[in-house]
Symmetry: C2
Subunit: 516 residues, 2 copies
Amino acid sequence: MKGLGATGGAGVVYGAMSAIGLAPAAAAAAFRPPAMGDLVGQAPGHHRVVVLGAGPAGLAAAYELGKAGYDVTVLEARTRPGGRVWSIRGGTEETDLNGETQRATFSEGHFFNMGATRIPQSHVTLDYCRELGVELQPFGNQNANTLVNYAGDTPLSKTSVTYREAKSDTYGYVAELLHKATSRGALDDVLSADDKAALAEFLTDLGDLSSDGRYLGSTRRGYAGEPGAGTDYGTQLPPYGMSDVIRSGLGRNFAFDFEYDQATIMMTPVGGMDRIYQAFTDRIGAERVRFGAEVTAVRNTPDGVTVEFREGGRPQSITADHVICTLPPHLVPRLDHNLPADVVAALGSAGRTSSGKLGIEYSRRWWETDQRIYGGASNTDKDIAQIMFPYDHFHADRGIVVGYYNTGPRHQAFESLTHRQRLAKALTEGAEIHGDVYRDGVTASFSGSWARTRFSESAWATWDQHSPEYRLLLQPVGRIWFTGDHLSNAIAWQHGALTSARAVVTAVHRRVAGAN
Amino acid sequence: MKGLGATGGAGVVYGAMSAIGLAPAAAAAAFRPPAMGDLVGQAPGHHRVVVLGAGPAGLAAAYELGKAGYDVTVLEARTRPGGRVWSIRGGTEETDLNGETQRATFSEGHFFNMGATRIPQSHVTLDYCRELGVELQPFGNQNANTLVNYAGDTPLSKTSVTYREAKSDTYGYVAELLHKATSRGALDDVLSADDKAALAEFLTDLGDLSSDGRYLGSTRRGYAGEPGAGTDYGTQLPPYGMSDVIRSGLGRNFAFDFEYDQATIMMTPVGGMDRIYQAFTDRIGAERVRFGAEVTAVRNTPDGVTVEFREGGRPQSITADHVICTLPPHLVPRLDHNLPADVVAALGSAGRTSSGKLGIEYSRRWWETDQRIYGGASNTDKDIAQIMFPYDHFHADRGIVVGYYNTGPRHQAFESLTHRQRLAKALTEGAEIHGDVYRDGVTASFSGSWARTRFSESAWATWDQHSPEYRLLLQPVGRIWFTGDHLSNAIAWQHGALTSARAVVTAVHRRVAGAN
């Protein structure tokens, strides 16, 4: 089975698995890292590659090329690896493009991930965690005990409802309605008698319906008073009304967890997502990753590429046989370059996104003790969009809640504010969802906005991956190769950056080895 | 808020929370542990309580009484704490009532929980973990990448389908059908125009429907070939047919995770569920918990209770002011006792359950590398019922899969078999779901059947908690008090045992303090 995968690619594996009745999750396309032996006799000598950026794409490219003995240098403007994979801990300091400097004072061991925070099971990111020895744990991506809270014109407007109540009532009424419709014969042209019988059985289970097909509430909603000893039977609360539930849109976020990339179980490294890129850096060799090296120019020359950069205030330059450029597309044209106009236009066609997070450390894990929430997120149509609860340090004396993770206009409502103003707005909106406890015992906080973060200036690229511009950038310009999640079908995911790096590494290696 | 809860009980908390728009998960009913000071001046002197059984109920009772200075002795027939909370590790040895002795040879650090394995967020079990310093982690209770496989008369019979495919197709067609019915006006008597508009919006999202309300498949199902770099767009696979999906009952297990006690996020102690009872034992004081002490008699006397037991082959006896009996109800009448006939009959009225598990250690975590499964369970209508994947040791060189966890007739298909036969049957059925890899690299295994396990002889009790028999046993017989999850509304959950222990501790303490 493994052999088939290695030689024939993922499609072959699937065909073979189908034959024995298996349809597992997709695995990443076959990738063979370049090997020392590939160059022997074909392209002897020294092959220098300079990688611009020590984010996921840059570090993966340097790591993979290093396996074949390439002389790789990574230039990174920041003083840390990971790029938009950025775990905020006590001591993290950053001056944003608004001109404000924040310094995080979170307690020892606590952190939050400003960027990437979860990994789908199918993503190649997990394979790198295995290869690099990065310890993993589950990331809670849905929780029956977190809350939804939406404004509207029903009695449920701006009311906090647990996901378990919202799901029970929404699925209950949906099941009741479809059961009723089929009982009336309204779908007899599309459903056979056998279909209807099987569907009725499913709907009864889906909605916890009564024997006559009605949703009358359910223990799934939870209780006022936990069932326990003796005659503590638990008091079941009545469901919300059907029209209120439907018109309030309590179920508007249920499908989040159905999405291919967001379905439970999600994974994350123990101790912060940036652990992956610390591990990459260690493997590549710290001496090959130059931090604080801000690239200012990149130019194809007749027999190579010249890169200019500023390190410790001092202008420097380096030449290479190839350059792998992982910078955000909209930042590349700002370099001193000799790229053709159509490439510059293509780079500029990538849309930018506003997004960011705010981490709030509390002196007490009230979400666990008072509200029985052990991870996952609450969802709202307020500007904060969601509140994400920590997936680690359960039962510790403190913890960090992500007070918002939002995009577009809802993030823009925060990004021009000072940190103090962001925190105040987030606490106000959070308290409207989780109660007054949300304002109490805040011991530290830190916020970030990718559009206002130096060297990023956007959370992720948006464009059509079938467009001519996108396709143009998949080709090298002379000896300059573009790479990053923006050049993948997993934009904003580490998987996109990592697979893009693998693709470029494969192409560079083929070029060097003379295969194309 | 906390003050309200302590004085007025959970109901009051709920009322107050509703007023600010909160409806959090239920918390356990207020419990005040007995305190030293309660007895001062009221019941001075020495108060001896003997607890029969060192499972969750017994240890919690001993622990709570210990807080008030009671002289507590726990008698436990087994050589370990926890009762049906039993984590199987290398070195675990057990002779079952079939007469077979197994000795587990699992690798260092690996284990599986033969009994309780997951904790709902609302359960008081978590509060004890916090109080006792037992480290927690999430337990994956659903996974989009695990499989369903059911027999039937459709083309999907005995085919392995991922939960993500099953959910996408099932919800897709359910959404399409209800959308169609409402579009036809079939529910106009129960849905207003506003209801219909809101419902259509929800259904489109629920089912990933096309603009004309049809389910045509979805990226939610997954891909053949993971989307990745450049033009690796991922190949979407077509959905299964509507009638096949409905008639195959692919969705028959979706509601499992909607249940109050099974909804994500579930928690579990790091390193095995029995860590909780090791911690209880440590706190109570190992000298007060006598292992290998098998109770043979319990008798009310005019001024106390006499307990006879066998320890190291030697008959012994102990007297106490009160006895808390946590033995399974059906085993109590076997003791030498002077209980009244109605109590004996009530004890005997508890139904018994067949259930158990089989742990299989593999030399390779094929479920992660080959099938991208990081926890959760596959579901089937074969006898094995489900296959549970480990929630820890991700990416280790080996791991333990639970090859079945089943109850009733499907467990009975295993319980009379030898361990070797059980393993063979489990591997055969498992391979029909997960492929031939399921048979490869098995390095160790261990199985247990609670109905065939000494000192249990049943997985859990079944009865009507409103019956006169159940209610009778909530009352003490002289100075003998019955306790356990069987005397709760959370049977088979640690929460039931723990709340039952708290209730009896409160009642014993009131009696001793002269309050009733």
